[in-house]
């Protein structure tokens, strides 16, 4: 099919040495709301980049642009030196097979079983694959995330954390070159989180996968990152390795990584606290 043609039209690894993914002056607005404000970044091949930032600052929107699930309002996106944000949806299907994307909410197909979910990308792109082989592959991927035996469960019958892990197994099903994880450890217990961190490192080390992780979890960030980028109000406010971020002078960065509430936020809390007690006393509800 046309997928294979698109593969060929991308420059091969051997003759391309620039950044794997690059965005230039990326701006995204939803209506009047400015979410990303002229962001320029390049992601090196084989490295793990962690994107941190407060909730709602545009991390998910940013990584969706890397595979053009959303189109920029202005600015460009490049993959292996080729501009991709202006490609048609059909041309993009070929590009996207180089990526694995873990959605924040998992986005498992809820009308089919876990095994069928993981088989989906395999059967879409390897038309001739034998049923037996595909089953073996599914088993291996599920074992990797600690879910072997859950093949015939429906997503609705799994816990939130299990769903996330199943989604991770689906994202890596095609052994992609680039993995985009949207909050892989949120909602997992500490031990599972660490297993996911180890998995991320394992993919990077053994398969040379380029990894981009969006997270709030600083422990995970320090563990896996070669580079940490912090977004705030649609801009990059810090960019460097773990030590650089730890010692970053910007107060917002320090507050975020240490999990401290700023004085301004506290003031708001105190205000609303007094309001709540004065207006809604428990007896109002009796």
């Amino acid at each position: 099919m046309n997928e294979s043609e698109d593969h060929k039209s991308l420059p091969q690894d051997a003759d391309y040495s620039g950044p794997l993914i690059e965005v230039r002056n990326l701006t995204k607005k939803f209506g009047k709301k400015l979410v990303l404000d002229k962001i320029s970044l390049s992601i090196e091949k084989g490295k793990t980049t962690v994107i941190i930032g407060p909730s709602g600052c545009g991390k998910t929107v940013l990584i969706k642009h890397f595979i053009v699930l959303q189109r920029p309002t202005s600015g460009q996106v490049y993959f292996k030196g080729r501009r991709i944000d202006d490609l048609s949806e059909r041309e993009l299907y070929g590009v996207r097979t180089h990526f694995g994307y873990l959605f924040q909410e998992g986005a498992l197909f809820d009308s089919i079983t876990i095994a069928e979910n993981i088989m989906f990308p395999i059967r879409q792109h390897f038309k001739g694959v034998k049923w037996r082989e595909a089953e073996e592959l599914v088993k291996a991927k599920l074992a990797m995330v600690g879910l072997d035996g859950f093949q015939n469960y429906y997503p609705a019958n799994l816990s939130g954390g299990q769903r996330k892990r199943a989604a991770l197994a689906r994202a890596v099903a095609l052994n992609p070159e680039v993995l985009l994880y949207d909050e892989p450890t949120t909602g997992l217990d500490p031990i599972r989180s660490d297993i996911i961190n180890e998995l991320i490192l394992k993919f990077e080390r053994e398969l040379g996968v380029t990894t981009i992780v969006v997270t709030h979890d600083m422990k995970s960030a320090y563990k896996v990152a070669d580079r940490i980028i912090m977004l705030h109000n649609g801009r990059v406010i810090a960019d460097g390795d773990a030590d650089h971020i730890r010692n970053h002078p910007h107060p917002t960065v320090q507050q975020f990584i240490n999990g401290q509430v700023s004085e301004d936020d506290l003031a708001v809390l105190r205000m609303s606290g007094t309001l709540a007690t004065s207006q809604f006393l428990p007896r109002d509800f009796q």
Binding site: E89, T97, Y101, F103, R123
Partner: protein, 269 residues
Amino acid sequence: MIATLGSKAIQDVINAGRFGRFAWRSAAVSLRRCAHRQTYPLIWNQVNIIGVRSVPVIMITGAFVGMTLAVQAYDQLAGMGLEEHLGVLINISVVKELGPVLAAVMLAGRIGGALTAELGTMNVTEQIDAVRSMGTDPIAYLVVPRFLACLILTPVLIIYADLMGVVGGALVSFLQLGINSRAYWNFSASGVELWDVSIGVVKGFFFGGAIAIISCYKGFTCKEGAHGVGQACTEAFVASFISILALDFALAVVFKNVYLTFWPLKSLV
């Protein structure tokens, strides 16, 4: 005031354009996908979900249409001493007009609602984005099987509705109205042509296609949240209903002209 009106009009035009593109792409991809063996299990799956479970409601719809027609038309015809012509009237109405249209409306509610709700939920939970992220065309994977299943099934279901309409009409005529069954069938046989039945069935292709495309489009463009899904379902049903009636009118005009072209004299006899 004028600005809001203008921007609303522009939005409407944009939406119409989007729908047109969606419909065109769905049809084009469906045609291409027919050649892929991979699509057949998906279609089969939808045929089971959409078709098999619709059979009972469609048959009930058809039967009541036939029965009601018999009761209603009898008095008029009996007044003119033409009660034995009742068969022609019931059967023509059922196979040409009421069977197809009411079956399609029934399906717009039953299938259309389910399709919109399913795809709408997939949309708001990012499952459609997930299909895209894995390098697969959501139209090919999600819309095409549903579209083709509706295209195949609606005419078949219309035949069921027709059949039950004919049976229902006949039963009421014989058992309740006491009409001579021989005369009833003789008049029916001379009055209802294969052409009339075919028209009804051919309409089914158009109705089925319209229901599927509209419902899938509404699902794909559904807004966030449970409220968005509900709203999309309502809009899909209303739009399907109107387009069924509009298509029915357009097809009636077209078929009449075709008929007159091929058999110019028959209608004079």
